[in-house]
C-alpha cells in the first residue's frame, strides 16, 4: 500500500492554498522560483488518488493560473475528475477550475456533458448553480445541444435562484445552438411576463443582448417591453428596456410615438443619473424626430455638462456627440461649455469636446476653428496635440476637402502644423500635401512656397516624424519648380549636408527633386540666352559670338553661349507657364541682363541665370552628390549617378567653349540645349491621375509576357503587391519611345522616373512597363477615388499601343490654360462613385441565424396562442396568415416601405442562406421579380422554417404593391 501511504504523507504535509499564498508573499523576490517549485508539488499532488489532496492541488493551480498566468490546460482532466466528486467543496473547486481555464478547444469538454447534466438536475440549487456558471463560460455547440432539455426545465424552475441563472445561460446556449430557440424561447418569454422581478430582470437582460444584434425579430414582443417600461420601478430593468427600445424604435414609427411620453416622464421624474442618461441616450439615438423629447434631453444634458463630476460631464458631451449630426443646434447652444472643456484636465472630456468642436466645423468657420484649435494644440500635451492635429486633418480632408475653399490657407496651415514641435502626423500631412498637389492645380504655387520653407529649414531634418512631410515637400518643390521664387536656393536646400539625416527613401526623393531643379535651371538658362537673341540670324550669331567671348571674357561669357535659334517658336508654349513667363521677362529686360552682368556676383534671381551661377550650381551639386556615388543604398546611388552624369555632360559643354571657342561649341551648346529641353519636357509632363483599373483596359502589346513577370513579382514582393493594388498608378510619357535616339540611353528612362521609394526590382518592372507608382506609404483610400480622367481617350484609342495611349492621355492634360484666380473655389479633381470599391458584403453571421430561429419561435408562439394546435412542419393557411401579420408589421408601416422591405428581404435571404451560397448576395437594388424567383428556388428546400419565410417574402412583396394595409390592430396594448 505504498501509494496510499505516500498519498497520505502528501496530504499530511500538503500546502494548502493559504500556505501557497503566504509563501508567495514571503518570496516576493524569488517569486518565479517559488512558483515553479510549487508547480512541481502540484503536479505530484494532483495525481493523488485522494480527492482531498487532489482538489487542494487543483485549487492552488487554479489560483496560480488566474493570478499569475500559469498554464493549467494540462490539468483539465483532473478538473473533470474533481467536478464529479460527490462532495460539494470538491465540486466547487473543480467547477471553478473548469470555468476559469477551459475553452472551446479543451478536449475533455466531451467528457463533462453527463456530469453537467447530472448537476443541472441536482436538487441542490447550489450544485445547479455551479454547473450553470460553468456552462455559461464553456458552452460549446455540443454542450448547448445536449443540455437544452435540462435548461428548458430549469427555465421554469420554482426556485428563482436557479431560474434567473438559467435565463442568463440560455443566452449563451442560443448563441451556440440556434435550434434551442425553438424549444426554450417560449419559456424565456414567460419569464418576461412572470411576476418575479429577478427572473424578469434576467430575461430583459437577455432580450437586450438579442435585440442589439437583430432588433427586427423582437418587434412582436414590444407590448411586453412597453408594459415593463411603464410598470417597472427597477432602474436596472428600465435601463435594459430602454436599450431594447432604442434598437426597436427606429424600425417602427408607431412604437416610437408610443414610448416617447413614458420616456420623457422617466426623464423628468427619475433621480438616478444612470437611468436619466439612458433616457437621454435613447431619445437622441432613436427618437430624434420628437422635438419636445429632444429639447428635454438637451436640457437634461446641460445639467450633466455643468456638473462637477467629470463622469457626468463626459457622458453629457457624448450625448451631444450623438445628437451632433441631426441636431446641431444642441451643440451650438452648449458651445461655450464645449470649448471650455477643451482645456479640461480630464483627457476623456478633452477628447469628447474636440470631437464636438469638429462637428461644428463648416465651410464658413473652418479657418477660425482651426486657428483656435491650433493654438490649443501648442499649449497641450503631445498626445492631445496630435489628437487635435489628426482631427483637423481628418475633418478638412473629408470628402475631397469639401469644406476647404481657400486652399492656399489650408496648405499653409499644413505647413504650420508640420512645425508644431509635438507633431507626429507626418504621414497624414505628407499624403495630403501630395494629394492636394495632384488634385488642386491652383494650390500648387502656394504648395511650392510651403514646401520650400519646409525643405530649407535645417532644423526640421532632425525630426524623424517630419521626414514624410519633407519628402512630400521635396517632391512638390521639385515637380513644380517653375513656381519657385528661387530655384537656386531650393537646390541648395535639397542638397544641404544635413540631408544625411534622412532615411534613404526620402533622401532619394531629395536627389531626384534636385535633379529636376537642376534641369529646370539649365533649361531656363539656355532658353534665356536663346530668347535673348531671338531675331538674330545664324550667320550673325556665328560671327558675333567669338568676338564677345574673347572680348568680355569669363564673366560675360554666358551671353554668348546662346545657341542658334533652331528652337521652334512653339517651344515656349510647350514649356511650363513659369518658364514662358520667364522667357518674356528676359526679353523685356534684355539690356539689363547684358550690361548688369558683372555686378551680379551672387545671381540668385530666378530670371537671371548667368553662366557663372549655373557653373556654381553645377559645382555645388557635384560636391554634394559626389560622396553619394558610393552609397550602399541602391536608390541613392543610382539617382546621384544620374545627376552627376548630367552635370559632367553639361559642364563639358558649358565650360568647354571657353577653351575651344570654335563653331564646334555652337553645336555642343545646341546639343546641350536639345538634351536639356528633352529632359525638361519629360519633367514638365503633368503626372496625370489614372484610375487603378485603367491598366486593365490597356491592350497587351504583342510579345509582352506580362503575366510571367508579374507572377515573379508576386512571389518576390508578396506584401508589396498588396500595397500597389490599392495605390494610385501614375502614368507618364514613355520618353524613350518618342524621342528616339537623340537621347543617350543613360538618361532617358531612369531620369524620368518620379522620385519614389522603390527597390531595384520594382523599378526594373516599372522601366519595363513604363508605369510608375506613388510611394506605397502614400497609398490612401482617396487615391482609389481618382477619376477616370482619361477614360474617353483610353477608349478611343484602344487599338493603339500602350505608349501612345499614355501619351495621348498626357497630352490631354498638359495644355491647360492657367485658371483664373478669381474663381471662388479651385477645382478639386475627384471622381464619381465608379471606381470606389463595393462596400464589404454583409456578413452572414450566427446572429442572423439566431434571430431567424427567434422569429420562428415567436411565430410558433403566436400560432399556439391564436390557432388551436397546428402540427409542426405543416403550414396551414391560417399559420401563414398569422406569420404574415406579425412579420410584415414593421416594414409595411414605414414611410419608405419599399426600401425597408427590400432591406428586409436582403437580410432575410442572407439569414436563410446557410449553406446556400448562391442567394447570399441579394443586392438591395434587386426588384420584386428576382425576389420571387428566389422564393421559387427556396421552395424546393422546404422545411417548416423556409415555408414561413416564404410567407414573409410574400408579405414584403405585397407591401411593395399595396403600401398601407392596417394589419396590426392591437400591436401595442
Amino acid at each position: 500500500m505504498a501509494t496510499t501511504a505516500s498519498s497520505f504523507m502528501d496530504s499530511l504535509f500538503q500546502r494548502t492554498l493559504d500556505d501557497l499564498i503566504k509563501g508567495l508573499r514571503h518570496n516576493l523576490i524569488g517569486e518565479q522560483l517559488f512558483i515553479s517549485k510549487s508547480l512541481e508539488d502540484i503536479r505530484k499532488e494532483i495525481k493523488s488518488t485522494d480527492l482531498q489532496t487532489k482538489s487542494i492541488a487543483l485549487e492552488k493551480l487554479t489560483y496560480l493560473s488566474s493570478i499569475h498566468g500559469i498554464d493549467m490546460s494540462w490539468a483539465a482532466f483532473h478538473a473533470v475528475e474533481i467536478m464529479s466528486s460527490s462532495r460539494f467543496s470538491h465540486k466547487k473547486i473543480g467547477y471553478l477550475a473548469a470555468s476559469l481555464s477551459f475553452n472551446e478547444s479543451t478536449e475533455v469538454l466531451l467528457l463533462i456533458t453527463n456530469q453537467l447534466r447530472k448537476d443541472l438536475s441536482s436538487t441542490n440549487e447550489f450544485e445547479v448553480n455551479l454547473a450553470l456558471e460553468c456552462l455559461s463560460v464553456i458552452a460549446t455547440i455540443d454542450l448547448a445541444r445536449d443540455l437544452t432539455p435540462e435548461l428548458f426545465t430549469l427555465l421554469s424552475s420554482s426556485k428563482v435562484y436557479v431560474r434567473k441563472k438559467a435565463i442568463a445561460v440560455i443566452f449563451k446556449v442560443f448563441e451556440k445552438y440556434q435550434d434551442s430557440v425553438g424549444v426554450c424561447f417560449k419559456r424565456l418569454v414567460e419569464n418576461l411576463e412572470g411576476s418575479d422581478g429577478k427572473s424578469m430582470s434576467a430575461a430583459v437582460g437577455v432580450f437586450c443582448e438579442l435585440a442589439a444584434k437583430d432588433p427586427r425579430a423582437y418587434l412582436p414582443l414590444a407590448p411586453e417591453f412597453y408594459r415593463i417600461l411603464v410598470d417597472c420601478r427597477n432602474n436596472w430593468v428600465l435601463i435594459k428596456v430602454l436599450k431594447i427600445f432604442a434598437s426597436l424604435a427606429p424600425l417602427e414609427p408607431r412604437l416610437a410615438k408610443r414610448i416617447v411620453e413614458p420616456i420623457c416622464e422617466l426623464m423628468r421624474k427619475t433621480g438616478a443619473k444612470s437611468l436619466l442618461f439612458e433616457c437621454i441616450r435613447t431619445v437622441v439615438t432613436s427618437l430624434g424626430e420628437y422635438e419636445s423629447a429632444v429639447r428635454l434631453a438637451v436640457s437634461k444634458t446641460r445639467e450633466f455638462l455643468s456638473d462637477d463630476d467629470s463622469n457626468l460631464k463626459y457622458l453629457g458631451l457624448q450625448a451631444l456627440t450623438i445628437m451632433g449630426p441631426k441636431h446641431l443646434w444642441a451643440i451650438l447652444e452648449n458651445k461655450e461649455v464645449v470649448i471650455k472643456s477643451l482645456s479640461d484636465t480630464d483627457s476623456n472630456v478633452k477628447l469628447a469636446a474636440l470631437r464636438l468642436v469638429m462637428t461644428m466645423v463648416s465651410e464658413d468657420n473652418v479657418i477660425e476653428i482651426c486657428r483656435v484649435l491650433l493654438n490649443y494644440s501648442l499649449k497641450s500635451d503631445p498626445e492631445f496635440c496630435n489628437e487635435i492635429l489628426s482631427s483637423i486633418l481628418f475633418t478638412c480632408s473629408r470628402n475631397f476637402y469639401e469644406i476647404i475653399v481657400d486652399f492656399d490657407w489650408y496648405v499653409s496651415l499644413l505647413g504650420e502644423m508640420s512645425r508644431i514641435p509635438n507633431c507626429q502626423k507626418g504621414e497624414e500631412i505628407e499624403s495630403q500635401l501630395i494629394d492636394i498637389c495632384l488634385r488642386v492645380e491652383d494650390a500648387r504655387p502656394e504648395l511650392v512656397r510651403v514646401g520650400r520653407d519646409l525643405v530649407i529649414d535645417p532644423a526640421l531634418l532632425g525630426n524623424p516624424f517630419l521626414h514624410g512631410i519633407l519628402s512630400a515637400a521635396a517632391w512638390v518643390s521639385g515637380e513644380y519648380v517653375e513656381f519657385a521664387k528661387s530655384p537656386f536656393e531650393l537646390l541648395e536646400a535639397l542638397l544641404q549636408p544635413r540631408t544625411n539625416l534622412l532615411p534613404s527613401s526620402v533622401r532619394s526623393v531629395y536627389i531626384q527633386s534636385s535633379f529636376k531643379v537642376l534641369v529646370f535651371c539649365l533649361h531656363s538658362y539656355l532658353l534665356n540666352n536663346e530668347a535673348h537673341i531671338p531675331s538674330s540670324s545664324p550667320e550673325k550669331l556665328a560671327s558675333g559670338v567669338p568676338d564677345t567671348v574673347l572680348g568680355d571674357g569669363f564673366l560675360e561669357a554666358s551671353v554668348i553661349t546662346a545657341p542658334k535659334s533652331i528652337v521652334e517658336s512653339e517651344h515656349d508654349a510647350d514649356f511650363s507657364p513659369g518658364a514662358s513667363n520667364h522667357g518674356v521677362s528676359v526679353e523685356n529686360d534684355g539690356e539689363d541682363v547684358i550690361h548688369g552682368q558683372t555686378s551680379l556676383s551672387v545671381p540668385l534671381e530666378k530670371d537671371y541665370f548667368t553662366r557663372e551661377s549655373i557653373i556654381k550650381l553645377l559645382d555645388m551639386s557635384e560636391m554634394a552628390l559626389g560622396p553619394l556615388l558610393e552609397s550602399h543604398e541602391v536608390e541613392i546611388q543610382e539617382r546621384s549617378r544620374n545627376v552627376i552624369g548630367l552635370i559632367e555632360l553639361i559642364k563639358q559643354e558649358i565650360t568647354g567653349p571657353l577653351v575651344k571657342k570654335e563653331t564646334d561649341d555652337m553645336r555642343d551648346e545646341f546639343k546641350a540645349l536639345n538634351m536639356i529641353r528633352l529632359i525638361c519636357d519629360g519633367f514638365s509632363e503633368e503626372l496625370g491621375p489614372v484610375p487603378v483599373t485603367a491598366q486593365e483596359r490597356v491592350p497587351v502589346p504583342e510579345g509582352l509576357t506580362l503575366v510571367e513577370n508579374l507572377c515573379d513579382l508576386d512571389t518576390i514582393f508578396a506584401d508589396m503587391n498588396l500595397l500597389t493594388q490599392s495605390s494610385l498608378i501614375l502614368g507618364t510619357l514613355n520618353l524613350g519611345e518618342t524621342t528616339g535616339g537623340s537621347l543617350s540611353d543613360l538618361q532617358t528612362k531612369d531620369d524620368l522616373e518620379p522620385a519614389t521609394e522603390s527597390t531595384s526590382l520594382l523599378s526594373e518592372h516599372r522601366k519595363r512597363h513604363g508605369l510608375y507608382y506613388l510611394p506605397s506609404e502614400k497609398s490612401n483610400s482617396l487615391y482609389n477615388a481618382y477619376p477616370p480622367a482619361n477614360d474617353s481617350l483610353l477608349q478611343q484609342n484602344e487599338n493603339d499601343h500602350v505608349d501612345d495611349l499614355v501619351k495621348l492621355t498626357e497630352q490631354s492634360l498638359v495644355p491647360k490654360k492657367k485658371p483664373s484666380h478669381a474663381k471662388p473655389r479651385p477645382v478639386v479633381v475627384k471622381l464619381d462613385e465608379g471606381d470606389v470599391p463595393i462596400t464589404s458584403r454583409k456578413l452572414e453571421s450566427e446572429e442572423n441565424l439566431l434571430s431567424g430561429a427567434v422569429r420562428d419561435a415567436l411565430l410558433g408562439n403566436e400560432d399556439k396562442s391564436t390557432s388551436a394546435k397546428v402540427p409542426c412542419g405543416k403550414s396551414s393557411s391560417k399559420r401563414i396568415e398569422k406569420g404574415k401579420q406579425s412579420v410584415d408589421v414593421p416594414s409595411e408601416s414605414n414611410d419608405n416601405a419599399a426600401d425597408k422591405g427590400k432591406a428586409d428581404v436582403g437580410k432575410g435571404s442572407s439569414r436563410r442562406s446557410k449553406g446556400r451560397g448562391k442567394e447570399r448576395k441579394h443586392k438591395s437594388g434587386v426588384k420584386g421579380g428576382t425576389q420571387r424567383e428566389g422564393n421559387g428556388q427556396r421552395e424546393n428546400l422546404k422545411s417548416s422554417r423556409t415555408s414561413k419565410h416564404k410567407t414573409h417574402h410574400g408579405a414584403v412583396d405585397s407591401v411593395n404593391v399595396i403600401p398601407q394595409t392596417p394589419v396590426i390592430p392591437d400591436f401595442l396594448l
Binding site: 493560473s65 472551446e104 442568463a168 430582470s201 437586450c208 444612470s274 480630464d346 472630456v349
Partner: protein, 173 residues
C-alpha cells in the same frame, strides 16, 4: 454584456480576474498569458491617469470595438469592468459599488488581503452578481445570503471529510 471584471492592486498585481467573453478573433477563451497581458496593459493605462478625472477609458485597442472600460479605485485597488454597449456606464459604476459593498459585508471591513486569501470566495461572490456577462443580482443582502449558504455547504462537506479521512487511511496500511 460584461466582458471582464478585473481587480488590480496599486502595484499592478491582479487580485481577481474573470473574463466572460471568448475573444472575437480566435473564438477561444483567453489563454492565461493573453489575459495577463491584457491586465498589464489595463494597469498601464490606469496608473497613468491622474486623480479626480472621469472613470472611463477608451478600451477599443485592447478589447475590440464597442468595448467600454470603467474603473474605480477603492483604497489600494483598482476595480475594472469591461463591457459593451448593452450596459450603461453609470450603472456599471453603481454595480461596482454594490460589489465592493458586498465584499465589505462578507469580510467585514474588506481590505486587499481579504481578496488575496479568499480567492474562491471572491469568485463565488462575483458569480452571484454576474453570470455569463449578465448582471443577475444587485442586492448585497441577497448575495451575502447565497454566499454564506455556499460556504456553509462547503464547510459541511469538508467537516465530513476530516474525520473519515484519518480513519479511512489508517487502517489501510
Amino acid at each position: 454584456m460584461i466582458k471582464a471584471v478585473l481587480v488590480i492592486n496599486g502595484m499592478g498585481k491582479p487580485r481577481l480576474s474573470k473574463f466572460y467573453e471568448f475573444q472575437e478573433d480566435d473564438h477561444a477563451m483567453q489563454p492565461p498569458e493573453k489575459q495577463q497581458e491584457l491586465i498589464r496593459s489595463v494597469y498601464g493605462v490606469l496608473c497613468s491617469r491622474p486623480e479626480n478625472v472621469s472613470n472611463f477609458i477608451q478600451s477599443n485597442p485592447l478589447f475590440g470595438l464597442d468595448s467600454r472600460l470603467v474603473y474605480r479605485t477603492f483604497a489600494s485597488l483598482y476595480f475594472v469592468f469591461i463591457f459593451d454597449s448593452s450596459e450603461n456606464e453609470l450603472a456599471m459604476l453603481d454595480l461596482m459599488q454594490a460589489f465592493v459593498e458586498t465584499l465589505d459585508k462578507c469580510f467585514s471591513n474588506v481590505c486587499e488581503l481579504d481578496l488575496v486569501f479568499n480567492f474562491s470566495k471572491v469568485h463565488a461572490i462575483l458569480d452571484e452578481i454576474i453570470l455569463g456577462g449578465q448582471v443577475l443580482e444587485t442586492s448585497s443582502a441577497e448575495i451575502v445570503k447565497a454566499v454564506d449558504e455556499i460556504s456553509r455547504l462547503e464547510k459541511a462537506s469538508n467537516a465530513m471529510t476530516l474525520v473519515p479521512k484519518s480513519i479511512a487511511t489508517w487502517p489501510s496500511r
